[in-house]
Subunit: 437 residues, 2 copies
Amino acid sequence: MKPVNLGILGLGTVGGGTVNVLSRNAHEITRRAGRDIRILQAAARDLGRQRICDTSNIDLTEDPHAVVDNPDIDVVIELIGGDTLAKELVLRALDNGKHVVTANKALIAVHGNEIFAKASDKGVIVAFEAAVAGGIPIIKALREGLSGNQIEWLAGIINGTGNYILTGMRDRGADFETMLAQAQQLGYAEADPAFDVEGVDAAHKLTILAAIAFGIPLQFDKCYQEGITQITQDDVVYAEELGYRIKHLGIAKRRERGIELRVHPTLIPERRLIANVDDVMNAVLVKGDAVGSTLYYGAGAGADATASAVVADIVDVVRVLTVDPENRVPHLAFQADALSNLPILPMEEVETAYYLRMHAVDRPGVLADTTRILADHGISIEAIIQKKASPGSEQVPVIMLTHRTVEGNMNQAIAAIESLESIQGSVKRIRLEHLNR
Amino acid sequence: MKPVNLGILGLGTVGGGTVNVLSRNAHEITRRAGRDIRILQAAARDLGRQRICDTSNIDLTEDPHAVVDNPDIDVVIELIGGDTLAKELVLRALDNGKHVVTANKALIAVHGNEIFAKASDKGVIVAFEAAVAGGIPIIKALREGLSGNQIEWLAGIINGTGNYILTGMRDRGADFETMLAQAQQLGYAEADPAFDVEGVDAAHKLTILAAIAFGIPLQFDKCYQEGITQITQDDVVYAEELGYRIKHLGIAKRRERGIELRVHPTLIPERRLIANVDDVMNAVLVKGDAVGSTLYYGAGAGADATASAVVADIVDVVRVLTVDPENRVPHLAFQADALSNLPILPMEEVETAYYLRMHAVDRPGVLADTTRILADHGISIEAIIQKKASPGSEQVPVIMLTHRTVEGNMNQAIAAIESLESIQGSVKRIRLEHLNR
């Protein structure tokens, strides 16, 4: 068969990794795909820059439009990131009838509905396995491997930097700032660390996973985002003492009246496999009604790991080049005309358990007051720890774990507790999930 | 589009589960597949028997040949197990130009080469995701999700019964026989428990995984099989003391001169994620040159979990019914004319680390004699424990962990140690893998 010609946009970390993997494993890839795959052209911002890959057999250009307009190119690989130029180039490539493979989570989460609609019009494919959890084939697992299931929920550690920071806070007793500085030094953190530590990156990925899991349109703007900047060493230690670990999770859950879509720090029981996913590693736990709980684990970032997903997408696209579009796997797993309009639930309607930490005046009756408020709101308590006051202080830290309740209800209970004279300052809340049903 | 008609062979656990899942999730599956999937006919041995599924809309027969010969059926789902009648029926279905989905690991591991050759001749598909690790989409991950990688090795807990027994021996301090009896009582163990505890079942699955990972023909007869019947409570406790867990692993590894293909109990460091996969759960750890280590975890058996994989295969087959066969994913991941003739290495050439347990006479110089023998064979030692003699006994248990060496070399060293006057009885050996590179 005729070789397939690729045009690559961007030769940074992922672009360079993709060139390397395609070259190093060319024989293995051709044995699988049944035809040669070659990089015809690549665009990079500054051709003078040193690269991690050998580009001697590639036609290089500084003009990415030359690649998307090149009539000899079958598949455009978009690896420049961001959602402005990338969006323009992807739409133009689709207009030109080219298939697109992208690793761009922001682009898909924010503009995916528009992009997929255009791809369907043009009868071409947009593949985006590398956009979520790096090399882990989680899109494929959800979209094809679990296609017999009604997906009930999924929960993922999908930001490696955040997981690296939280792992260090637990294993080494370091504080948040120290670990963030270290992540930046090691090159893990995004240019703008807010994307990692404020939950934006995880929200992009969760938006994509939820769409594929439930057959709903991409709705990034409705995803609740909370980062890990407020997690302190004390929280990590108290959680540990209670048998839990704090992980930054993206959670999507099907409820009767809608979908929960939320990114936030979460206490999870230490015996769960996903509680033991450490450092920069990613993992996604998926609960299907037939399969039960399944977990997918691997590197969520890095040149070669991300390239692994990009190349898998390229092979997939190569295989279906000649397939009647209506027989292809739909972009969002479900047929475009069969997407559900189940709404994303507001955060007030989310149901979860909680870890609460507050500072109480050290005198009898304080616990009675707080537990009474929780009881009045129908919230039952799983555990309470009351610590000793530090020398010279009149405040004692009180930590409570609650059973499941609705967030709006908990908001009211917390407001009532904060208004008690015996409680100083605000009540810290971290959500808690058992992830076992 | 026209609905797709299925014919099911076997309405036992997996057959019944498949009928249930197809019916319960019909709406969700059609939203994904883009067309209706219906069960036209099903064959069962005894139509009078009570079933876990509703068969009121299915044409039932006791003659499985009627199903494979039924001209209205597009896809035959083989769920009767075994490799005699199943083989005959699958070959006949292929001869009749029907696609086949099967959960039959023995059939694929032993007769897969013949079956795939016939399927290719006829231009039809044989899908077998459910044959390995139940509902975990591991075939899809290896065959498609990691297609950009050179797979270096994989290691899997792929027999749930064995894992249930080993987990109980560790968590509850029970012995092998007690746990086996319990597994049988709970319905986990196969009719012939030897398939589980002697490693046959795991070897079937490993044979399939290795073929797909490395692009080699199925070679079940060359797979080394060792079960868990020789593992004692002492071994479990000593392993724990040294920071290891004993798991029954199937390991396939690419070496320069061939492929290691082996099923045996294995000590693995307790901090590895896979060491924490307990009870009947399965997990497969796959190391690719680009993606690094990835892990896939889920239920390895059960009606609904296995049905999840069967239905995913059905949806896949439905999608490519109209695809030119040469553009389909090849049965063994690699194009049939591009399989490698890399041999399976004999066990003597396998390279691994070891746990050795022996009974020594309690007198000075014994350790010196044994460690000298290991040193003479170029085997270095990672750890030694020498226990106290039980009251009234003159024997002391000695446990050693070695670094990696070649099995043939270790065989010689063990023979020499066993010939020492100070060593009583035979030396127990359990292989040890770090699974970290």
